[in-house]
């Protein structure tokens, strides 16, 4: 049976791990390679690295980090942040990344999804969507959640699927940083219109939040950052709890 994935996310700035609360107010949470190894040993199923300092100058640092990660860990990992060309993707995959996560660049240029998918396969194309609700509608935000777009979340995800995305990483900005649990409403709506693997992100604060998201939605993975970095939720304990609740995990 396919297992539900637990995915720690490491936000990278200048080679260090940080996690914003509601996308502002960054706190240092350690060395990414050391954290990655520890998570891998604890039973993380996959890792996501988001470079939030991505500029051309810093990209070289990121490539070195990816090379080091590829040597040190033997579970899949995704790299995102500032990826806007086929060449960016080529360099990251060659350095050892398994997938790339794309956000603002594909909203601006949706064709990039199909270009990457055709060249490298859809399995490596993660479309990351930051979504926030306005009245009764959900909208896509770009540039680290700073800029609202006219794209409605469900329409955009459907389009990303048609263009050749391999996976959706959905962050609810309304829930991110609140530790009130995942955005079950939005995740349910997305899985009704999309047949791609779906990673739930934003809002995890305790073990029960993971149980809830996997029992109430079709999310195939759940992502969190600070609660793992600061040890508020330990992966072995989380997985044991999920197993006890009959949710298949590794």
């Amino acid at each position: 049976m396919l297992k539900k994935r637990i995915i720690p996310c490491l936000d990278i700035k200048d080679g260090r791990t940080v996690k914003g609360i509601n996308f502002v107010g960054l706190r240092d949470a350690g060395n990414p390679v050391e954290l990655a190894k520890e998570y891998s040993e604890q039973g993380a199923d996959e890792l996501v690295f988001l470079d939030i300092s991505a500029t051309d100058e810093k990209r070289k640092t990121l490539i070195h980090l990816v090379e080091e990660l590829s040597k040190e860990i033997n579970i899949p990992f995704t790299v995102g942040g500032g990826i806007s060309t086929l060449n960016d993707v080529d360099l990251l995959l060659k350095a050892g990344a398994d997938k790339v996560s794309l956000n603002s660049s594909v909203v601006k240029n949706p064709k990039l999804i199909s270009d990457i998918s055709q060249r490298f396969g859809n399995q490596c194309v993660v479309v990351a969507v930051d979504s926030k609700q306005f009245e009764t509608q959900d909208f896509v935000f770009v540039n680290g959640g700073k800029i609202k777009t006219d794209f409605q979340t469900l329409d955009w995800i459907k389009r990303a699927e048609e263009l050749g995305a391999g996976e959706i990483l959905l962050t609810s900005m309304d829930f991110d940083g609140t530790k009130q649990g995942f955005d079950v409403r939005l995740l349910k709506q997305v899985s009704e219109i999309c047949n791609l693997p779906l990673i739930a992100s934003g809002g995890a604060g305790k073990i029960e939040d993971f149980t809830e998201v996997f029992s109430k939605t079709n999310a195939t993975g759940a992502l969190a950052a600070s609660i793992f970095h600061f040890g508020e939720v330990q992966i072995p304990e989380l997985k044991l709890n999920l197993k006890q609740n009959k949710i298949p995990v590794r």
Binding site: M1, L2, E46, K71, Q118, N122, Q123, G166, L198
Partner: protein
């Protein structure tokens, strides 16, 4: 020397890293003679079937591979290319396994992405592996069950998680991304006589 066939697609680095970590020397190559003379050959793969077959033909590797007698391991797309035919862009493949590669129905969640366990494990590659162990899969096309099936996986339907015929081995999962149990399977392959 372990030859890793380089056909310019996907994440080959992690296969190289995984093998070197086990203490074996590797060479990343698409050269006919280097591949022919290697002690063992690994054919990793993510990417698209027809593009990969075209590349093999340009290098005459489609002629070489079926004649090889040393242990040969195809991973993911590498396993699919060892089959007879793939529905992915109607591609005639190498035909070592008399198996068709089919597409998962798009009404389900595809790709099959994540950790899944195997059943009916057969052969030396699965020494020290149990049906409770999970391996990492990511694919939208699958190899049908056949007499060459050496382990099965069930996602939407049962399919060949691995295949074996003589010196040819295939794995749909990624041993290089499957943690310590994946390394064990790779090590079992590298230690074949």
């Amino acid at each position: 020397m372990i030859a890793i066939i380089d056909y310019g697609a996907g994440n080959i680095k992690s296969v190289e890293n995984a093998i070197e970590k086990l203490g074996f020397e590797t060479i990343l190559t698409s050269d006919f003679d280097e591949i022919r003379n290697a002690e063992k050959i690994i054919f990793p793969g993510v990417g698209e079937a027809s593009t990969a077959m075209k590349f093999l033909k340009e290098k005459n590797l489609d002629i070489l591979i079926p004649t090889l007698t040393q242990p040969f391991l195809g991973i993911c797309l590498g396993q699919q290319l060892l089959c007879s035919y793939s529905e992915e862009n109607n591609t005639e493949c190498l035909g070592i396994f008399d198996v068709k590669v089919k597409q998962f129905p798009s009404t389900e969640i595809v790709p099959h992405m994540g950790w899944n366990n195997l059943s009916n494990l057969k052969g030396d590659l699965f020494k020290c592996v149990s049906e409770a162990d999970d391996f990492y899969f990511v694919h939208s096309f699958y190899c049908e069950l056949s007499e060459n099936t050496s382990s099965e996986c069930n996602y939407i339907l049962p399919f060949s998680a691995s295949l074996q015929k003589n010196n040819f081995y295939g794995m749909q999962f990624h041993p290089e991304k499957s943690g310590d149990i994946g390394s064990k399977v790779l090590e079992n392959f590298l230690n074949l006589n």
